[in-house]
């Protein structure tokens, strides 16, 4: 086409007598373009001057998916030089190009001695304005352009189906091409109040002010650096929400290998003042991350968790943590998988919003490697809590292996006693599902401190216990072996304990209890239930707590046969037991029995079965269809005989709560 135009111009210049020349073609095509409806009109003038109009109905570049329609190029003053070449300073170019209605503006060119200079002036792209220059010859090319006010919406509607946008872009760019084929350039793209969204609303920007600038050096292996600065606005890249109260700056420097489809970023940094600093490098080959190494530092752990971690954890038990403090670390990725990481915590605080657990003064260094045992790790805290039970500080040694974390035995103060974890192993790293198993010993736990922590009636005594092995997987905690509690002079053996949905809204605890040789004197003193002397044994089966509240059980408490301890029961204890059965006291003090401080008894027995909201009561077979709760002995003999076998569980609890405990009424 240019050749055709040149020939025509040459011919017109040579034939000065010609007033107008024209050429028309249905279509003209090149290797990568095609023009249809071509009409060229040439108007020769004096002294080598001429003018021409060129009209194309359609000009297409199939490879670029570009189509210009109704293209008009006019040059009112074309100068042709005797030594060859020419120029045109006031040409106009105008055409329709989707997504804009009309594109056009001023055009200048000059062609002398094999060197071409082109300039676009006040060129319209919708509401955008483009200015640019391009100049060069066979030894190379150079140029620059300035684009202002280019609306984003038409660009997205044309080239990004389903996306919408608002705001405008500006671009300043310059570049050059060397005869060797290499090229280099620099650009700066800027926008303010930019908005965009995909169809689902999962990638959204609002009121964004940003700039993207870079220097690129092309050749066999293009290289360069880019800087993205997000100054204001909000960005939602599902599931992350970022609000740029302070500017976030990202820098990348690296090269691209077209043959290997390899992107290598030698330096990658992110800086978000008062929040995040990150530096690293990555290697991306054939669509996959081959290697990435990053070091990071979070100056504000609370904000870092909210912005970067919590969105990934929604729906897990760790989606409601409150964190404070600082953290730093590194992560190595390979083949799209984490290969190693290191984490350093500095005086951090971690608190579960549901109040289930918390740690204060968390410090330490944790290391993990996918392929080999990592360096030893240490973690310490100054205080902690599990639900409302306070734990003391501790320093813990850890060793991370490829798929598990081993916690060395450690001890921590618990309820004025000690909890010694005899080993804990967490497996399933790094992706889960996680499992944990270990064992523990409890020594000298104060029941008084426990009852105060849990707002229970004040209890007395100490507990020693052994948890041979516990196992946690998929939300289910299981105790393997028996938990033996040494208390009230005897033992309470907890068997088959499981907790399902441990960190869920309604954990379900199931267990069986075996009570052996408990000293009723100590027990009744603890509960201030009126004094009872003797021994107590029994069992609790199918004990089920849902949301830590009793939902069902079957229990029997009784005096052991051949009990070595003396059997005495006080007047008040009889009153309390009667209250428990009937809701009212026996009122022995109002009778002649009030003269006696306590009474002998043969045996105690009470069976309680809770089904739904009703408790069924039973005891030793008694006269007249009743059952003995207390079967008296000797004289004066007092029997407590239950007649009512069904009682609402709520009423029974209320009666228990209403019993006076050492002058305190428990509500």
């Amino acid at each position: 086409m240019p050749l055709l135009l040149a020939l025509l111009l040459f011919w017109a210049a040579a034939a000065s007598a010609v007033e107008e020349a024209g050429l028309a073609a249905a279509s003209v095509a090149g290797a990568e373009w095609r023009a249809e409806g071509v009409r060229l009109r040439l108007l020769p003038g004096d002294s080598g001057r001429a003018a021409f109009d060129l009209h194309l109905d359609r000009l297409t570049f199939p490879a670029l998916d570009l189509e210009a329609a109704g293209l008009d190029l006019s040059c009112p003053r074309l100068r042709l030089f005797q030594e060859g070449g020419g120029d045109c300073r006031e040409a106009k170019l105008d055409f329709a190009l989707a997504p804009w209605k009309r594109v056009g503006g001023g055009l200048e060119w000059r062609w002398v001695s094999g060197r071409l200079a082109l300039a676009l002036k006040n060129f319209r792209l919708g509401r955008g304005r483009l200015e640019g220059r391009l100049e060069g010859d066979q030894d190379g090319w150079g140029g620059n352009l300035n684009l202002e006010g280019l609306r984003l919406a038409p660009l997205l509607s044309r080239w990004a189906s389903g996306w919408s946008g608002s705001g405008a872009l500006s671009l300043a760019a310059s570049g050059s091409r060397r005869p060797s084929g290499g090229w280099k350039g620099r650009f700066r793209l800027a926008a303010s109040k930019l908005g965009f969204s995909d169809e689902e609303g999962l990638h959204v920007g609002e009121a964004l002010a940003l700039s993207l600038s870079g220097k690129l050096d092309g050749g066999k292996r293009p290289q360069g650096d880019l800087q993205l600065r997000l100054k204001r606005g909000q960005l939602y890249l599902d599931p992350f929400y970022l609000e740029f109260e302070r500017p976030l700056t990202l820098n990348a420097e690296g090269w691209w290998n077209e043959r290997e489809k390899r992107l290598h970023l030698e330096r990658l940094t992110a800086r978000w003042p008062a929040l995040l600093e990150l530096s690293g490098r990555l290697d991306w080959r054939a669509g996959g991350l081959r290697e990435g190494v990053f070091r990071w530092r979070l100056a504000d752990l609370a904000k870092g968790y909210a912005l970067l971690l919590q969105p990934l954890l929604i729906g897990t038990p760790a989606d409601a943590l409150q964190l404070r403090g600082r953290a730093s670390g590194s992560i190595t990725l390979g083949g799209g998988e984490p290969r190693a990481f290191a984490l350093a915590l500095e005086s951090a605080r971690l608190e579960d919003e549901g109040g289930r657990f918390g740690f204060d003064g968390l410090s330490g260094r944790l290391y993990w490697k996918a392929s080999a045992p990592a360096s030893p790790s240490r973690l310490s805290w100054t205080s902690a809590h599990l639900y409302r039970v306070a734990l003391g500080g501790a320093e813990v040694g850890l060793r991370a292996r490829p798929h598990r974390l081993e916690v060395a035995p450690f001890a921590v103060d618990l309820l004025r006693g000690r909890l010694e974890l005899t080993g804990l192993i967490i497996s399933g790293l790094p992706r889960g599902p996680f499992e944990a198993e270990g064992g523990a010993e409890l020594a000298g736990l104060s029941l008084k401190a426990l009852s105060a922590a849990l707002d229970w009636p004040p209890l007395e005594g100490k507990v020693d216990a052994s948890l041979p092995r516990f196992h946690y997987a998929e939300g289910r905690l299981r105790l393997e072996g028996d938990l033996v509690l040494k208390l009230f002079g005897g033992r309470v053996v907890v068997e088959g304990l499981t907790v399902e949905d441990l960190l869920g809204p309604a954990p379900v605890l199931r267990t069986r209890l075996r009570l052996e040789n408990l000293d009723l004197a100590q027990l009744s003193r603890t509960f201030s239930f009126g004094r009872i002397e003797g021994s107590l044994e029994g069992w609790v089966r199918d004990l089920r707590l849902v949301g830590w509240e009793v939902a069902g059980f079957e229990a029997e408490l009784r005096s052991p046969p051949h009990d070595a301890r003396r059997h005495r029961i006080s007047q008040r204890a009889i009153d309390d037991l009667t209250k428990l059965g009937n809701g009212v006291a026996a009122g022995l003090s109002g009778t002649f029995l009030g003269l006696f401080k306590d009474f002998a008894y043969d045996r105690l027995q009470l069976r309680v079965t809770l089904h739904g909201d009703t408790a069924e009561l039973d005891g030793a077979p008694g006269p007249g269809g009743g059952y003995y709760i207390v079967k008296g002995a000797l004289l004066p003999r007092v029997d407590v005989i239950g007649r009512n076998r069904r009682v609402a569980w709520k009423d029974l609890l209320a009666r228990l709560r209403a019993i006076q405990l050492k002058g305190i009424v428990v509500e």
Binding site: E200, L202, Y241, I314, P505, V546, G547, A551
Partner: protein
């Protein structure tokens, strides 16, 4: 002859006609679900939809294998002879501390969820859960908060269905209870709320 072949045959007939009924107290479950759903939705700041015409209280949901017509007549006769093993009307207990806690937790959350139900950002699905229908209506800064609300609500709902089944001594009923709730949620939600049916979102 009858002594030799009749009694064995009759015994065979009796044993062949044993029908296993797995009763799920559908009517009671529906009533329980409606009580809970209304109780939870009353905190959404908008009155729940008036209940549709109450279904006639029919027999509880049971699965019967249909016998061959030849056996049917014999079956009818045997029904007269063989007492029904389990005929007592079942009830659904929803009065346990755990269920009360879950109801309270869900109730308190409704005030925060209700604007998103009305905006169409969140709807009710066929599994008796809530689901994000479209994030486009939700300001960017509130999206993760809403996602967490939905996750918390579903945690409670899953625990509620499981616990109702457990509290009634039939953990295997969880699926039926979930299905019942899924239907009742949709029946009881106010007009304008969205629900999903057969994979497609619809507006009530």
């Amino acid at each position: 002859m009858f002594k030799k072949t009749g009694w064995p045959l009759l015994s065979l007939l009796l044993s062949a006609c044993v029908t296993i009924n797995i009763y799920f107290p559908a009517a009671a479950a529906e009533q329980a679900a409606r009580v809970i759903v209304r109780d939870v939705l009353k905190n959404s700041g908008q009155a729940p939809q008036q209940a549709p015409k109450a279904p006639e209280k029919g027999p509880d949901h049971s699965y019967l294998d249909r016998p061959h017509p030849a056996w049917l007549l014999a079956g009818r006769l045997l029904e007269r002879l063989v007492p029904v093993a389990e005929a007592a009307g079942a009830d659904i207990d929803i009065d346990t501390p755990a269920i009360a806690r879950l109801r309270k937790s869900m109730q308190q959350r409704q005030r925060q969820l209700a604007p998103w139900y009305r905006a169409g950002a969140v709807g009710f699905n066929e599994s008796g859960l809530v689901q994000i229908r479209s994030l486009k209506q939700v300001p960017l800064s509130q999206r993760n908060r809403l996602k967490k609300l939905v996750a918390d609500e579903n945690r409670d709902r899953n625990a509620l269905y499981r616990e109702i089944a457990r509290a009634n001594g039939h953990p295997e009923w969880e699926g039926e209870i979930r299905k019942t709730f899924a239907r009742i949620w949709i029946e009881e939600v106010p007009k304008g709320y969205w629900y999903r049916k057969e994979g497609a979102w619809k507006r009530k």
